[in-house]
Symmetry: C2
Subunit: 423 residues, 2 copies
């Protein structure tokens, strides 16, 4: 008979927030309720490893139980539709265990004190690095604890998984706003260029998602520019000229990470010539930099828009597919750990499912986390058109299943209700 | 027995788009179906007066009828949840009739040719000016045509009406995004200031709406800065210091129109010292200008966010109350015109309704348009706190009924479906 490792569990959130990271937390909570024979209690780190090292944690089993000790589904549902990271986050990157064994000793000592046998960490690249280093340290220790990473990043740039929870919701928000912006810009007959800047410094997945309306309704940007390929100013001008032949309202999306062939960012800050009313030096964004240059070149109305933080926190427009997958990743982490897996990250594998309408299905697996951390997955070259100014329909069809379905937050007085952990 | 003026009608949209202007158009269409004994047909101007003078119009009665000649409700519903202006827009301001009588003669000639007896124009200040001037001209002409304005502007700065259709949806979007941004910023424990720039150059209604979460959930900005009162840099620094005493994540909202006591805009462009990679002069926004100066003063992480165009086109998050009121304004314009009103704008009057839960009710009336055009309604001084860094709860309670209720766009492949007029 299989006797699972028995003890408490702890979960933390780390790195930048997303609209889906709380759904993953909900999945870990649900998973611990399911595995209650092995997991006696679930703690939450406040502000990730950082807060935990400072002695800050909470009792999630108590917070998410109803009076009968069963999961409080209303509270869990509210958590799922809350943006940001309910436990708080941090940006700490751990040193190598060999460089600072005392730190790891302290950390493991504190975990031991609470009887923790299961450690779940939800995050992106840096967080998976934390999982890898803690696992490495534990192999040299006599304390048995299973360590699992659960992926999260709107950038979709983690290796080893088909895509990352958080990406689908950001993509849905970006695609919806792009479609609305394109409709808005189309109302006038005077020539105008609108340049929309999209997050993702090293990978162009989110910028690619800006083109989704082209596949669905036709109301998408004329061109999109990804950081994976060099940005060419003359080609950009030609693209705008070509778009003006089709309609007076040109809309393009550009990655914040767009770079010239020589490696300089298009939005590179100017370090000389202070010029504003406060006498400050000027740090401009990619879209703003292009706005100024296009205005001069074409002499028409030019507007730049940075979609900014709402890309990662617009929970009111989260993708139902994304939230559901995020939750299943959390549950799978718990189930896998209880069945013996450690030092791994939950990953999704895309399967063909000719039975489903979209042909899309997922398999949840685990991957050795040491093979995943610290690498960036870019948009494949063959999904960017040879002219470097758009993505292929194949790329868009690959993203499309990830933005399907709408979530239903609880509304009160006209605003979504969020779950808030008392401090 | 009352014999109404019988003939065709025409409707146009003008000025900046909003998430609600198509609901008003839907109301005019519905109104014309209701008044079919008087109104034989409804035309739509393409791109407002501008397009109509160029001979561009369409047959809305045909487009929005089903095969039995009844209103096509599915199409009308889709129109209501479509952002921007379905008929297209323009920014033309007409001259005084005395200055260019030939233009008015041409315009009225073209209307006469189509047998138009009812003229509906949906827009803001400039559009009401058009309605006023056309009415003035008609008083000297022997052609009987009734001219009605229907208000629209996200800025809520029109005189003569309790509020304007379009404002509620923009306010709901701003308040929702502010709440999400506040949640997002709260995940870290390091000191940071986030400055969110809100539309509304001359009136602070939308910036006031950014504070709505403070009334509903407490998760709103620490301070809001309206263009109605002077912006004081030293007071702004003190406000940030005071907020830091409460929490490490300070979030403020500031109007794009914020001005110093001497009248200079906070985001005033610097006209000297070209400095970017292209050698361009720098035009900065209000939030960006403050970002640079706060970064220098406090040495902490500072982020600026411009909510930008989505404020006026985020139909996916429109206020149900706003869309419904916008539609009723359109219907009321038609009903009033048929009953003999002309040279007027539809207006809303707020009535006390102790029977309803919110105590909020509206009455639809008409006002002489010549008393409305070309004036700006600001946020009353007594609704801004004496320190000039926030609005009062009374102000927020006044805005709150306008953001109530969520709309349900039709979704296809993960994106909202919009109504598009064929060209």
């Amino acid at each position: 008979m299989f006797t699972p490792l028995r003890g408490a569990a702890i979960v933390g959130q780390s790195g930048g927030p997303t609209a889906a990271i709380n759904s993953t937390l909900a999945g870990v909570i649900e998973g611990c309720f399911i595995e209650k024979d092995a997991i006696t209690k679930l703690y939450g780190m406040r502000n990730g490893i950082d807060g935990f090292l400072d002695g800050r944690y909470c009792d999630l089993s108590a917070i998410f139980s109803d009076e009968n000790g069963s999961p409080d589904r209303d509270k869990i549902k509210m958590l799922e539709t809350t943006p940001a990271a309910a436990l708080g986050s941090c940006r700490r990157k751990l040193p190598k265990p060999a460089d600072d064994p005392a730190l790891f000793e302290t950390l493991v000592g504190k975990l031991k004190e609470l009887g923790i046998r299961y450690f779940f960490y939800i995050g992106g690249n840096d967080s998976m690095d934390t999982v890898a280093k803690l696992s490495e340290y534990l192999r040299t220790s006599d304390y048995e604890m299973r360590v699992m990473g659960v992926p999260k990043t709107i950038d979709n740039d983690l290796m080893g998984t088909d895509h990352t929870p958080g990406f689908g919701s950001a993509a849905k928000f970006i695609a919806t706003e792009m479609q609305e912006i394109v409709r808005d810009c189309a109302v006038y007959t005077v020539k105008a260029v609108t340049i929309v800047e999209i997050m993702g410094r090293d990978a162009g997945w989110l910028t690619a998602a800006a083109a989704l309306p082209n596949l669905v309704s036709g109301a998408g940007p004329d061109h999109v520019y990804l950081p994976e390929v060099p940005f060419d100013m003359e080609a950009f001008y030609s693209d705008i000229e070509a778009a003006f032949k089709k309609h007076p309202n040109v809309v393009v999306a550009v990655s914040e990470g767009a770079r010239f062939a020589d490696g300089r960012y298009v939005g590179e800050s100017a370090q000389s010539g202070a010029a504003d009313v406060f006498g400050h030096k000027y740090l401009e964004g990619t879209a703003k930099a292009l706005e100024l240059v296009v205005k001069e070149k074409f002499g028409c109305k030019v507007r730049s828009i940075e979609l900014n933080l709402p890309q990662r926190c617009a929970a009111h427009l989260a993708s139902a597919a994304d939230l559901s997958e995020a939750e299943l990743c959390g549950e799978h982490a718990v189930g896998s750990a209880v069945s013996g897996v450690t030092g791994s990250m939950v990953a999704m594998e895309r399967a063909e499912n000719p039975g489903s309408e979209s042909g899309y299905a997922l398999k949840y697996v685990t991957k050795d986390v040491s093979t995943i951390a610290n690498a960036v997955r870019a948009v494949p070259r063959e999904w960017i058109v040879p002219e470097n100014n758009n993505v292929t329909d194949e790329c868009l069809r690959w993203i499309l299943p990830l933005i399907q379905g709408e979530t239903e937050p609880v509304w009160k007085d006209g605003l979504p209700v969020h779950f808030v952990l008392e401090s």
